[in-house]
């Protein structure tokens, strides 16, 4: 994977607005953002209503995903271009999720919704409708998803990257600061995890930094190329952003996203937790 195979620019998207084999999909934390205006032709996926199981604490099954993508008019051969607010956090989450179920042609719009808006490019409230398809998902690719037992076993052995803000990592904040701070989980981080905030991988306008800058970022943070890597955040969407950088832009081999992330880990009984700005010991 590389920048060229994983990212498209806003100009590229404008040139492909009428290309029926390219499906623009907006995914936002604010699930009403699409309704207030979106890129012409884009359809909406609701990261909560569409992509979460709704009963189990998990995302939707393969069957439900197939039904969802079929109804949305996404075909197996289509190029799916995700974009969204929050610097593409939830778009990267949806990208990772479709990758998990084996979709081949996936891209992120570099800079997402923010760059599009800051460039004053066209937005519309006209809702797009695509003819239904018969989507067939592949079996889940567990090589890109980490669960809690693997994470606990990785303490002190694999690269653990906590991509939350320094104040969340240290335990001074319990959630990103656009959300209320009352949370069920305790504060802190997984011992031995380094803190490389997702935001260091992005420019102010939401576009990704250059390959050289990204390589230097993770090298300086002590990421050991010889080891497998697991990224986590609070609910798995910011870590999807970092998973995207490491796996899809820089081409690292063994990178997993721990989507249970701190809401799960910080609520577990009797697991080790580190507080403060240092990684802590195994």
């Amino acid at each position: 994977m590389s920048r060229e195979s994983a990212l498209v620019t806003a100009d590229w998207v404008e040139e492909h607005l009428n290309d029926s084999s390219v499906v623009l999909v907006e995914v936002d934390e604010d699930t009403e953002a699409y309704d207030k205006g979106h890129i012409p032709g884009a359809i909406k996926l609701d990261w909560k209503g569409d992509l979460q199981d709704g009963v189990r604490h998990d995302f939707v099954s393969k069957d439900k995903l197939e039904a969802l993508l079929s109804a949305k008019g996404i075909g197996n051969d289509d190029t799916v271009v995700f974009y969204g607010g929050n610097n593409n956090w939830f778009a990267a989450y949806a990208y990772w999720y479709l990758k998990y179920y084996g979709h081949d042609n996936l891209r992120l719009l570099d800079g997402g919704r923010k760059k599009w808006e800051l460039d004053s490019r066209e937005l519309t409230t006209e809702v797009s409708d695509r003819p239904a398809t018969t989507y067939v998902a592949k079996d889940a690719d567990e090589s890109i998803r980490a669960f809690r037992d693997e994470v606990i076993a990785s303490i002190g052995t694999k690269n653990l990257i906590d991509v939350r803000s320094p104040d969340e990592y240290a335990g001074r904040l319990l959630a990103p600061a656009h959300l209320p701070q009352e949370q069920a989980q305790i504060g802190g981080h997984i011992p031995t995890a380094g803190n490389v905030p997702w935001s260091k991988a992005a420019n102010d306008d939401g576009t990704f930094r250059s390959d050289e800058e990204l390589k230097a970022l993770y090298a300086d943070a002590g990421l050991d190329d010889a080891k497998d890597t697991i990224a986590y955040c609070r609910i798995g969407e910011r870590s999807s952003h970092t998973w995207f950088v490491l796996k899809e832009i820089l081409g690292h081999e063994n990178v997993k996203n721990y989507d249970g992330s701190w809401t799960e880990y910080g609520a577990l009984r009797a697991v080790p937790v580190a507080l403060g700005d240092e990684p802590g010991v195994a």
Binding site: E117, R172, L173, H178, P180, P197
Partner: protein, 98 residues
Amino acid sequence: MCGAIKGGPSLEGVDVANEAVIQGIVTRDGQPVGNAYVRLLDRTGEFTAEVPTSATGQFRFFAGPGEWTLRTLAPKSISVDNAVTAAKGVVAEVAVAV
């Protein structure tokens, strides 16, 4: 959109006593800017959160006690920084002009 609104969004339903709220409004020439992005930087300048402004130009963060910087990006403007101090139980109001 008239320019009569002062300050950040309504605090109805917000647990102000237990939060260190930073909020306000982004304006250009006295008019609210509804398509700006406000980011919250910590005391070291590191990104902590970002929100788009509402249609009325308003924004809100739930920070921790301490010194913070708001960095506002709006179309056709250079970014603007505003320093702000947050404290639990206090609502810090910031007027941002771009």
